[in-house]
Amino acid sequence: MKQHLITTVNGQHIERDVDPSMRLVDFLRDELLLTGTKIGCKQGECGACTIIMNGTAVLSCILPVMKAMNAEILTIEGLDEDGKLNPIQEEFIKGGAIQCGFCTPGLIMGTKALLDKNPSPTREEVREDLSGHICRCTGYKKIEDSVMKAAERLREESHD
């Protein structure tokens, strides 16, 4: 039996009748057509499906869709500002932190959640916080460097 879901995704109020056994990632991709959020393992082990829910990075592949009830959800599609990429996205591009790109939306959302809470992370904190993201192209060093650059840039911009 379907249940009524009320939620906010990328600032947009959403109301839908959903199958409560559905996972949140399937709702985002199949119902809202927000396919920027990727499905990798669908077991909570690769981080590709990471989104931000109520300010916290979570794995949308292992969350029942009803966990989104009255929540504020941000996906990779909601990150740009008036068509301009977020500084984290720009630093990932500049730093060569994107190879095949499959892990990238999850990593960028994980990075945003980290930097929103901790604008000046150490490299060790970056590694620990993003440890749940697997990049099979194994470009971890460039990812770490890009996160540090993005943090630096966001700090500078907040002082402007």
Binding site: M1, Q3, D19, P20, S21, R23, Q43, G44, E45, G47, T50, T56, A57, V58, L59, I62, L63, P64, M66, K67, M69, G110, E128, D129, L130, S131, G132, H133, I134
Partner: protein, 289 residues
């Protein structure tokens, strides 16, 4: 399936009672969702407890730290009271899965899923926790050994009973605890072995030690022989080493193709015990010489 977002403990018990075994509690859901998917578990109704305000609390009450069953592992290991009084528990909680798992999974869930080497439950096990359980019949308190029925099987039936909070006595100045983990990689990986210990030291001797290890049996296994011998022993490297050997008497490790052979685990377990006891001695500034 039906999904209920509960607003109070009373509502949880009411829904469970009405469903007569067909409804099941879900907290973080990081294991349960996958178990339902693979058919290991089933539920006509899931009762989500994560928005019940009283279950989110982490607070000091009458000399005990009380951790609500809906507090996430991240909320626990980043909490100032946990970091101050129970650094070994903070370490155990921040070792589970990855930060993304810790952001939704709970300490209560880590105990209820009853996986023997679950890091958060293991680090908790030596702190003499009291588990506050509520069901149709009322409230009762259970200790660690009343929580684990077998490998991945809890004594607590989440279709009938709600774990509301975990109470841990604040340690005095003679007491400290340690959590040690042997691992292939630091995240997204179950440990090859983990060991937790808590002890009291005065006058250069152990007053008592609680020592548990996993995965070497059902749940966090007590190293009974080592515990009994350690009481009254001097705080020296020789003591740590002998206790490590004694711990083997209560351990029955199995071979696992991913996480080490029985023989490797038997060789490394004493080292993990030594490290845990050394860590306690260092924390209490009690190492002789």
């Amino acid at each position: 399936m039906n999904y209920v977002i509960a607003e109070s403990t009373a509502e949880v018990i009411e829904v469970l009672k009405k469903a007569n075994g067909l409804a099941c509690i879900v907290a973080g859901g990081t294991d349960l969702v996958l178990d339902i998917d693979t058919g290991k578990k089933s539920a006509g109704t899931l009762v989500d407890i994560m928005r019940i305000p009283e279950l989110k609390k982490i607070e000091l009450v009458d000399g005990f730290l009380e951790i609500g069953s809906a507090a996430t592992l991240t909320e626990i290991h980043s909490h100032p009271l946990v970091k101050q009084y129970f650094p070994s528990l903070a370490k155990g909680c921040r070792t589970v899965g990855s930060r993304l798992i810790q952001n939704v999974a709970t300490l209560a869930g880590n105990v209820i899923t009853a996986q023997p080497a679950a890091d958060a439950g293991m680090s908790l096990s030596v702190l003499d926790p009291q588990f506050v359980l509520v069901d149709e019949g009322g409230t009762r308190i259970c200790g660690v050994d009343g929580m684990y029925a077998g490998f991945g099987v809890s004594e607590v039936d989440s279709c009938k009973t709600l774990l509301t909070k975990i109470r841990i006595r604040i340690p005095n100045e003679h007491e400290a605890a340690s959590f040690q983990r042997l691992e292939l990689r630091k995240s997204l990986s179950l440990p090859m072995l983990n060991v937790a210990a808590m002890g009291s030291i005065s006058g250069g001797h152990f007053d008592w030690v609680r020592l548990r290890m996993a995965p070497v049996g059902k749940g966090p296994v007590r190293a009974v022989q080592a515990e009994e011998w350690l009481a009254g022993q001097p705080v020296t490297p020789e003591t740590f080493s002998h206790a490590g050997e004694l711990a083997l008497a209560d351990a029955k490790p199995r071979s696992n193709p991913l996480r080490g052979s029985k023989e490797y685990r038997e060789l490394t377990l004493p080292v993990m015990v030594e490290r845990a006891l050394l860590d306690i001695a260092i924390q209490l500034n009690a190492l002789e010489g």
